[in-house]
C-alpha cells in the first residue's frame, strides 16, 4: 500500500481531518480533493476492501469516505458509496444518502451487473429477526455473531467499540426471549451505569412486545412469575446484584441464557474476580444455559470459552474491522507560542501534518490546556468529550469551557437544559456546579452521580444540546456513548494509575458515531510529555483477556504467603493488596466446595507443582474453618478466614445476643449500632470501614441512605455534621464526597460486608438456639444496594422508577407498606395532580414514561447504537 497509494491516503487523511476541526490556521499548501486521481483511488480501495488486515480496510474506508465527503463529482461520490457497500458499511451509505451527499436511487444509476452484485451483497449481509420477520442489514462481524450465537452453546465475541455490538446483542437477546425457549435471561453488565443504560435500551426495544419484562432488581417476584409461565424476564444485573439474587433464590436460580457484557473486565482487580465467580456460579446451577461473552477489541476472546462444560459447543467470533474512521491526532504546543498547537495525525507508522490550531488564550495549567483545545477544535460543532483524571478536575475543566462560550441569555435557556439544571439543583444541591454549566450546554459526568442525572446528561449529549461533556473513567467502563471528538491528556484510571492501552483504545473507540458520522477524532495533548504519557500515546492494537485470578495466581509464593499470614493475623495487620484478599477468598471458597483446587477448571492453566502447594496451604487453612462452603459461596470476595474470625468474635461476645444485630432504621439506636457493627467488621472480617474514627461518618451516610433519604437530604446532613463538629469544608468537594460515599460505601462496601455479617450472625444464632432473633425480611444487602427500607419505596423502584424519583414521590405517599399494584394505583389515581406536586420536570417525565404510558411523552431514553 505504501508504494501504491500511500501519499494519496496521507493527503486524504489531512483533508478529512481538517474538514472536522475548527480554528485551524489557513494552510495554502493544503490540496483540494478534486485534484486526486479518484479513478485509481477507488480501484485501490476496492482491492484493499478485500483484505482481512485492519490497516488495509481502514485505507479502503478512508478512500470511500473521502470520495463521499470531499469530492464534488457525483460519479465519484456514487463510487464511494459503492465502496462503502463493499465494506458492508451500509449504515454509512444510509448516512451519505440522508445527508444528501449521495443522491437517492443509487441502485438505479448502476449498470445491471453492478446492481446485481450490490443486491447479492446486501442479501448475504442480512440476518432474519424471527420475532419481526424483518431482515436486518449487518456487517460481517454482526453476521458472524448472529449465526454463531444462535448455533453455539457458548460464544465469545470481540470487536472494536463502534461495531454495533451492543445494538446487535440486544436485538438477538430480544429475539431469543420472544421467539425462543428462554424464559429467564440474565444480562451481566459490570457497572451500574451500564445496567441503567441497557435496561432503558431493552425497554425501548420491548415497547411493542408483549409478555417480556425487564428488571434490574435482585428480587424474586418477577423471576417466579417468569418461571411459572408468566411474562418472560430479562434481568440486567451487575455481578454483585447477581450474587444477591442467587442468594435469595438458592437452588431456584434457574436461567436459560446469560450475556456477559464487557467480559474483558474479568481481568479487573477485585471486581473481576467477583465477575468470574458470578459466571461460574450461574454455570454451576445452569450447566445447559447459553452463554455469550462480549468484549471490545480483544486478542483472544476464545480464552473465555476454556471453562465450558464438556459437550457444550463453543465459538469465538473476532473482528478488527473499522466501521468509522478514527483519527488519532497528536497536539503539541508550538515552541514559544502557547496559543498555537501543531497537529499531526497518526497514519499507520507515519505521522501526517494536519496544520496549526489557534487557541483563544494561553493555557497556563493542564485543565486549561484541555479546555482551550477542546473549545477551539470544536468551534460551533458539538459532540466533544473531554477526558478528565478525576471528578474534581472534570468540574474545573467544564468551568473553563463554559467561560469560553459566547455570553448567553439566561432567559433563553433550552427547556430541556433548564429541566436538567433544575434536577441538579433540587436533586443534589442548589450550589451543585453542574446546574449553571448545563444551562450553557456543557456538562461533567462521573460514576458516583445518581443514575437519573447521568442518563439525562448522556441523552442530551447524544441529542446535541449538551455540546461538551467532561467525563471520567466511567465512560471507559462501558457506557455506550459515542462522540465526534475526544480530547485527552495523560489519561489515568482509578487513583492515578496510567491507563492501560486497552482502556485507552476502549475510550478512543468512542470517537466516531457509526451511522451518525463518517469519522471521529481523538486529540491527544502533549504526546511527548513523559509525565502525561509514560509509555507514549498507545499504538492501536488488540489486547489479551486475562482473568484476574490467573494473574494473581502467577504471583505464586507471594499469594501463598498472604494466605498463611491472613489465617493467623488480624485483618488490618496483614500486608498485601485487595487483589490477594479477593482471589484468596475465591480460592479458599473453591477449595471448600471441591475439596481440592486441582479439581477446579483453573488448575489446568497453572503449574501442577504450584497447584499442589496451594492445595496444601488451603487445606491447612480450611481445617480451621467451620463456615460451610454454601455460606462462603454466598459472599463472593469476602474471605472465609474473616468470616470464621467474626463467628469467633460473636462467640466471645458477653452482652445480649440481640445487640449484635443491625437495629431497625426507625429505631433510635440504629445509627450508633451501625458504628459498632462497622468497627466489628473492621476488626474481624475485613478493614472495609477504616479508620475506626471514620466509621461515624460512614455510618451516618449508610444510615441516611437506608432510611430512604434523598441524596439532597444526605448532602444537607453531611454539611450539617461538618458544621456541628467544626470541620472545614468546600461545597463542591462535600457534594462530590457525599456522592462518592453513597456509591462506594453505602451501595458497594456496606452491602458486601453487612450481608456477610448478618449471615454469620444467623449461623451463630442457630448455634446458640436463638433462631427467634433471625428476621426473614428483605436482606440487608438488597436494602443497602437500593437505599430503601420501606416496602413502598421498593415497590416504586420495582415499577421501574429511579431511586431519585421514587424517594421524592415517597415523600408524598402516606403509607410505607404499599405493594407494587397498590403503589401503581396510588400514582394512577393522581395522574392529573402530578404537575402540582412540585417534582422536578425530569422526574415527572420519568414517572409518566414508565408508569403512565398513555399520558406520557414519547420515550426518550438512550438510543441503541
Amino acid at each position: 500500500m505504501a508504494e501504491g497509494v500511500g501519499d494519496e491516503i496521507a493527503t486524504l487523511t489531512k483533508l478529512t481531518v481538517r474538514s472536522e476541526l475548527s480554528n485551524l490556521v489557513d494552510d495554502p499548501e493544503a490540496n483540494t480533493a478534486d485534484k486526486l486521481d479518484w479513478h485509481r483511488l477507488i480501484l485501490a480501495g476496492s482491492i484493499l476492501a478485500r483484505s482481512d488486515m485492519r490497516a488495509n480496510q481502514e485505507a479502503g474506508l478512508r478512500i470511500a469516505v473521502g470520495a463521499v465527503v470531499l469530492v464534488k463529482d457525483e460519479k465519484v461520490r456514487d463510487a464511494g458509496a459503492m465502496l462503502l457497500g463493499q465494506l458492508s458499511n451500509f449504515r454509512a451509505v444510509t448516512l451519505a444518502i440522508g445527508r444528501g451527499l449521495v443522491a437517492d436511487d443509487l441502485d438505479g444509476r448502476l449498470g445491471v451487473s453492478l446492481r446485481l452484485e450490490t443486491q447479492r451483497r446486501e442479501m448475504d449481509r442480512s440476518v432474519l429477526v424471527e420475532t419481526s420477520g424483518r431482515w436486518l442489514e449487518v456487517n460481517e462481524f454482526q453476521q458472524r455473531f448472529w449465526t454463531g450465537a444462535s448455533s453455539a452453546d457458548w460464544l465469545s465475541a470481540s470487536a472494536p467499540t463502534a461495531s454495533g455490538k451492543t445494538f446487535l446483542v440486544l436485538q438477538w437477546l430480544v429475539d431469543q426471549i420472544t421467539a425462543g425457549e428462554a424464559k429467564v435471561a440474565v444480562y451481566l453488565a459490570p457497572t451500574r451505569a451500564l445496567v441503567t443504560e441497557i435496561e432503558s435500551s431493552l425497554e425501548q426495544y420491548l415497547k411493542a412486545v408483549k409478555g417480556v419484562v425487564v428488571s434490574s432488581l435482585p428480587l424474586r417476584t418477577k423471576f417466579d412469575d417468569a418461571r411459572a409461565g408468566g411474562a418472560r424476564l430479562i434481568l440486567v444485573l451487575t455481578q454483585e446484584r447477581m450474587h444477591l439474587l442467587a442468594n435469595v433464590l438458592g437452588a431456584d436460580f434457574l436461567i436459560d441464557l446469560m450475556i456477559v457484557d464487557e467480559a474483558h473486565k474479568i481481568g479487573d482487580d477485585g471486581r473481576g474476580v467477583i465477575l468470574q465467580d458470578a459466571v461460574e456460579r450461574a454455570v454451576r446451577l445452569n450447566p445447559k444455559m447459553s452463554l455469550v461473552f462480549i468484549s471490545p477489541s480483544t486478542q483472544n476472546p476464545g480464552e473465555l470459552l476454556a471453562d465450558a462444560p464438556p459437550g457444550a459447543t463453543t465459538q469465538a467470533v473476532d473482528s478488527d474491522a473499522p466501521t468509522v474512521l478514527q483519527n488519532v491526532i497528536l497536539a503539541k504546543q508550538s515552541k514559544g507560542k502557547p496559543k498555537l498547537w501543531n497537529l499531526v495525525a497518526r497514519q499507520g507508522g507515519e505521522e501526517v501534518d494536519i496544520g496549526t490550531l489557534q487557541l483563544a488564550s494561553s493555557p497556563s495549567s493542564i485543565p486549561k490546556r484541555l479546555a482551550f483545545i477542546a473549545a477551539a477544535a470544536t468551534g460551533d460543532r458539538g459532540g466533544t468529550l473531554v477526558y478528565a483524571n478525576g471528578a474534581g478536575e472534570s468540574e474545573n475543566i467544564a468551568d473553563f469551557i463554559s467561560q469560553l462560550q459566547p455570553d448567553h441569555d439566561p432567559g433563553a435557556v433550552d427547556p430541556e437544559l433548564a429541566a436538567l439544571a433544575e434536577l441538579a439543583r433540587k436533586g443534589v444541591h442548589p450550589g451543585f456546579r453542574l446546574a449553571k454549566f448545563v444551562e450553557r450546554g456543557i456538562a461533567f459526568h462521573f460514576g458516583n452521580m445518581p443514575s437519573l442525572l447521568r442518563l439525562e446528561i448522556e441523552r442530551l449529549f447524544r441529542s446535541g444540546k449538551i455540546r461538551f461533556l467532561v467525563c471520567t473513567s466511567t465512560l471507559v467502563e462501558g457506557v455506550n456513548l459515542s462522540c465526534r471528538t475526544i480530547v485527552v491528556r495523560g489519561p489515568r484510571k482509578g487513583k492515578g494509575n496510567p491507563m492501560e492501552p486497552h482502556d485507552f483504545w476502549n475510550l478512543a473507540g468512542r470517537a466516531g458515531r457509526w451511522g451518525d458520522e463518517f469519522q471521529g477524532n481523538i486529540i491527544c495533548v502533549d504526546p511527548h510529555d513523559g509525565s502525561a504519557w509514560p509509555h507514549g500515546v498507545p499504538v492501536r492494537s488488540r489486547y489479551p483477556i486475562r482473568r484476574e485470578s490467573d494473574a494473581v495466581l502467577d504471583a505464586g509464593g507471594e499469594l501463598l504467603g498472604y494466605l498463611e499470614e491472613r489465617a493467623v493475623g488480624a485483618p488490618r495487620d496483614v500486608d498485601g493488596d485487595g487483589d490477594f484478599e479477593q482471589v484468596g477468598a475465591y480460592l479458599l471458597t473453591t477449595y471448600m466446595r471441591l475439596g481440592s483446587i486441582a479439581d477446579a477448571e483453573l488448575a489446568k492453566r497453572h503449574d501442577a507443582a504450584f497447584i499442589k502447594n496451594l492445595d496444601q496451604t488451603l487445606s491447612r487453612i480450611a481445617a480451621k474453618i467451620e463456615i460451610g462452603s454454601d455460606l462462603a459461596t454466598r459472599h463472593s470476595g469476602v474471605s472465609p478466614i474473616g468470616m470464621q474470625r467474626l463467628l469467633e468474635t460473636f462467640r466471645a461476645y458477653k452482652g445480649e445476643p440481640d445487640n449484635l444485630l443491625p437495629a431497625e432504621v426507625a429505631s433510635d439506636d440504629s445509627y450508633d449500632r451501625f458504628v459498632t457493627i462497622m468497627r466489628r467488621i473492621n476488626a474481624s472480617l475485613f478493614p472495609a470501614f477504616e479508620p475506626d474514627a471514620r466509621a461515624k461518618l460512614l455510618a451516618l451516610i449508610v444510615f441516611q441512605w437506608l432510611k430512604g433519604k434523598s441524596l439532597a437530604e444526605i448532602i444537607r446532613r453531611n454539611i450539617a455534621w461538618h458544621e456541628e463538629v467544626g470541620k472545614a469544608y468546600k461545597l463542591p468537594d462535600i457534594i462530590r464526597e457525599t456522592m462518592m460515599l453513597v456509591e462506594q460505601i453505602a451501595r458497594f462496601r456496606a452491602p458486601k460486608y453487612f450481608s456477610a455479617y448478618v449471615d454469620i450472625l444467623h449461623l451463630y444464632y442457630v448455634e446458640i438456639g436463638r433462631q427467634d432473633l433471625i428476621d426473614a425480611d428483605l436482606d440487608i444487602g438488597t436494602q443497602l444496594e437500593f437505599g430503601v427500607s420501606s416496602r413502598t419505596l421498593i415497590s416504586l423502584m420495582e415499577l421501574g422508577l429511579s431511586r431519585m424519583t421514587a424517594v421524592e414521590l415517597f415523600e408524598k405517599i402516606a403509607r410505607d407498606d404499599l405493594d407494587r399494584d397498590q403503589a401503581l394505583q396510588w400514582i394512577t389515581e393522581r395522574a392529573d395532580e402530578l404537575d402540582t406536586m412540585e417534582l422536578p420536570v425530569v422526574m415527572l417525565r420519568e414517572l409518566r414514561e414508565r408508569l403512565l404510558p398513555s399520558g406520557g411523552a414519547a420515550m426518550t431514553g438512550p438510543q441503541p447504537v
Binding site: K654, G655, E656, D658, N659, A663, D668, D669, S670, Y671, D672, R673, F674, V675, T676, I677, K696
Partner: protein
C-alpha cells in the same frame, strides 16, 4: 473532705457516691454504642435515674428501656427510651 453518703439502687447498696458512680461507670463500659441495656441492668438504671436531679423531666411519660449511645466528643452515655417513642440522654454521674 465531704461526708460519706450511702447510695441505694433498689436492693443494691453502696457506701459512698464514688462507689455508686464507679459501678455505673463499669456498667456503661461493658456496652458498645448502639447496644440495648439488658433487662437486669435496666432495673438498676431505673432506680438510678430516679435519683437524677432532673428525674421527672428525663423519665417523662415513662421508661420503656435503656440504650447506650454516643455522646459528645466521642464518648458514650446512657439514654432512656420512653414509652411514647421519644428518647433522652442522661449522665449516670448525676444519678447519685
Amino acid at each position: 473532705m465531704g461526708k460519706k453518703k450511702p447510695v441505694s439502687y433498689g436492693d443494691l447498696h453502696f457506701n459512698t457516691q464514688t462507689e455508686a458512680r464507679a459501678f455505673l461507670n463499669a456498667m456503661l463500659g461493658k456496652y458498645d454504642i448502639g447496644d440495648r441495656v439488658s433487662a437486669a441492668d435496666a432495673v438498676i438504671l431505673s432506680s438510678a435515674l430516679a435519683l437524677h436531679p432532673d428525674a421527672v423531666q428525663r423519665i417523662g411519660p415513662g421508661i420503656k428501656d435503656f440504650s447506650v449511645r454516643s455522646a459528645d466528643f466521642g464518648t458514650k452515655c446512657f439514654w432512656v427510651n420512653r414509652i411514647d417513642g421519644t428518647t433522652q440522654k442522661f449522665s449516670h454521674k448525676a444519678c447519685v
